[in-house]
């Protein structure tokens, strides 16, 4: 496998993962990466990852979403 980019937006992650899967001749896996990128985006956008000390809402505030 190739190394992932050091700083990854979801788009950059998706592009890297798809390209690597294609390079490894795993086209079916590359085709599944779009779906997995939605999962990754959900994890990154989820308020359970926020931290008030970093200036974002804490996870206890999810009811106000």
């Amino acid at each position: 496998m190739t190394n992932p980019p050091q700083r990854t937006s979801v788009d950059a992650w998706r592009d890297w993962a798809k390209a690597d899967a294609e390079r490894r001749e795993l086209p079916e896996v590359a085709a599944l990466i779009d779906g997995l990128s939605a999962t990754i985006a959900r994890l990154r956008l989820g308020d359970f990852n926020a931290d008030a000390r970093l200036g974002t809402a804490a996870d206890e505030t999810h009811e106000s979403r």
């Binding site: 690597d20 079916e28 997995l36 994890l43 989820g46």
Partner: protein
């Protein structure tokens, strides 16, 4: 033989009672189960390995113990099957894969040792979705498991062979594993009781892992009392029959929203009828919500795929052609999950666990359907709900995986059928023993 005279149709508690009165021997019961395996396994593909000689020897030992007045408890002399992820010394553990090979396990898994010590008669190792990474038990090196209620349909998975073995009278109880629903999904598909204990209550030592954060071991049985008997042996906790709670003492929290949004018509009808019966009997049912319910799948996949991909990384590189294509693809996806996203998912797990604890604060258990669809046709990739096609795998996991993420004990009970196929409801509690009491109370209403 009439059904009433067929010992393979008994629940294990009743079979045990008959053995203790001398009306049934462990040897006769085991021979009857082995005969069912011989008659139907070619069609159902429930078993990968049948250990007839060892089973008959164990049955004779159980009978000798009964005659000598040595009673090791409710599993003595009971034919039990084990999912072929669980090690039995001297028998190969295949995980339904060509990757592992046929080398016999050197030692028993902890749960195997406990079953043997309790006098259970181990009849063999059951078929499953390869490495437990799937919900239909179709991707297996040993042929797709078929549902005994309708052989054109899946028995569910990943413990599909385990479930089929009970429905077909090949054993009276079985041990499965549940990482996203793999005990409860086949139980729902086959009309059985499937109990996932709380995380860590039953040891996974000697069991091929899928995701160590989510893996659970537990029983599939015909009744709640049978599930309790199995659980106390597997967990090595004090033996205790469930106390059937009176309806007027029970409070259930009905999970709405996400959990009732996508149900096949037969499931919706069966579940609504069951809830109506439960309320009519006097159980207090109130609505509860989980604000992060829609995040469950992302949290689950972020952890499961990463852990499974890591476990299989070496063999994915060395012998990728030995995996079923769909299983290989999902495992490969896990290798692309970054550490930071895995850790985000683990934080999500903590949030979800707290939400479920809050939802349980004022009720004895949460209630929701056991599975969103009835057993799907073999080969189906999607099922249409309200005219919208959705992947079978996502629909089968949707209602069970939240409680692997949270680690709470959960049990499915049959509440149908509304047609020719079983429908189930699911109960989720804070503690296993208390949940089994609630389940016994609900079972008494629904039967």
């Amino acid at each position: 033989m009439k059904v009433a005279d067929d010992p393979t149709t008994l629940d294990l508690v009743t079979a045990g009672r008959r053995m203790r009165t001398g009306a049934l021997s462990a040897t006769a019961l085991t021979e009857a189960c082995l005969a069912q395996i011989a008659a139907r396994n070619d069609q159902l593909r429930a078993f990968i390995t049948v250990t007839s000689d060892a089973a008959l020897a164990a049955a004779r030992d159980a009978d000798n113990d009964f005659r000598a007045g040595h009673d090791r408890g409710p599993l003595q002399g009971i034919p039990v099957s084990l999912k072929d992820l669980v090690d039995v010394a001297g028998v190969p553990t295949t995980a339904a894969s060509r990757v592992i090979g046929n080398r016999p396990a050197a030692t028993d898994a902890v749960v195997t040792s406990r079953l043997k010590a309790a006098g259970a008669v181990l009849v063999g190792k059951t078929n499953l979705h390869e490495f437990a990474l799937g919900t239909t038990s179709e991707d297996t090196a040993f042929g797709a498991v078929r549902n005994p209620h309708d052989v054109s349909r899946s028995a569910g998975g990943s413990s599909g062979g385990s479930a089929a073995s009970i429905v077909a009278g090949m054993a009276l109880a079985t041990v499965g594993t549940d990482t996203g629903g793999s005990i409860r999904i086949p139980s729902a598909a086959c009309g059985l009781v499937g109990f996932k204990p709380a995380f860590g209550e039953v040891p996974c030592d000697g069991v091929v892992p899928l995701s160590t954060t989510f893996d659970h071991v537990g029983p599939l049985t015909r009744t709640v009392a049978d599930a309790a008997a199995m659980f106390h042996v597997l967990a090595r906790s004090a033996p205790r029959s469930p106390v059937v709670r009176r309806p007027s003492t029970l409070r259930l929290g009905r999970l709405r929203g996400f959990y009732e949004a996508r149900l096949e018509t037969a499931v919706k009808t069966g579940y609504e009828d069951a809830i109506a019966s439960i309320e009519k009997a006097g159980v207090a049912v109130t609505d509860v919500t989980m604000p992060h319910a829609a995040d469950v799948a992302a949290i689950y996949l972020g952890i499961l795929l990463a852990e499974a991909g890591a476990y299989h990384a070496t063999t994915l590189d060395q012998c990728p052609e030995l995996y079923s294509p769909a299983v290989r693809q999902r495992l490969e996806m896990g290798r692309y999950i970054l550490a930071e996203d895995y850790l985000r998912a683990r934080r999500g797990r903590d949030v979800l666990r707290r939400e479920i604890e809050r939802a349980l604060a004022d009720v004895d258990a949460l209630v929701l359907p056991g599975m969103a669809i009835v057993a799907p046709p073999l080969g189906a990739e999607t099922v249409a709900i309200d005219g919208v096609s959705e992947p079978v795998r996502a629909l089968m996991l949707r209602l069970t995986q939240p409680f692997n993420v949270s680690g709470h004990p959960a049990i499915v009970l049959p509440c149908g059928p509304t047609g020719s196929l079983p429908v189930s409801l699911q109960l989720v509690g804070a503690r296993s023993v208390a949940l089994l009491d609630v389940a016994a109370g609900i079972e008494a209403i629904l039967r």
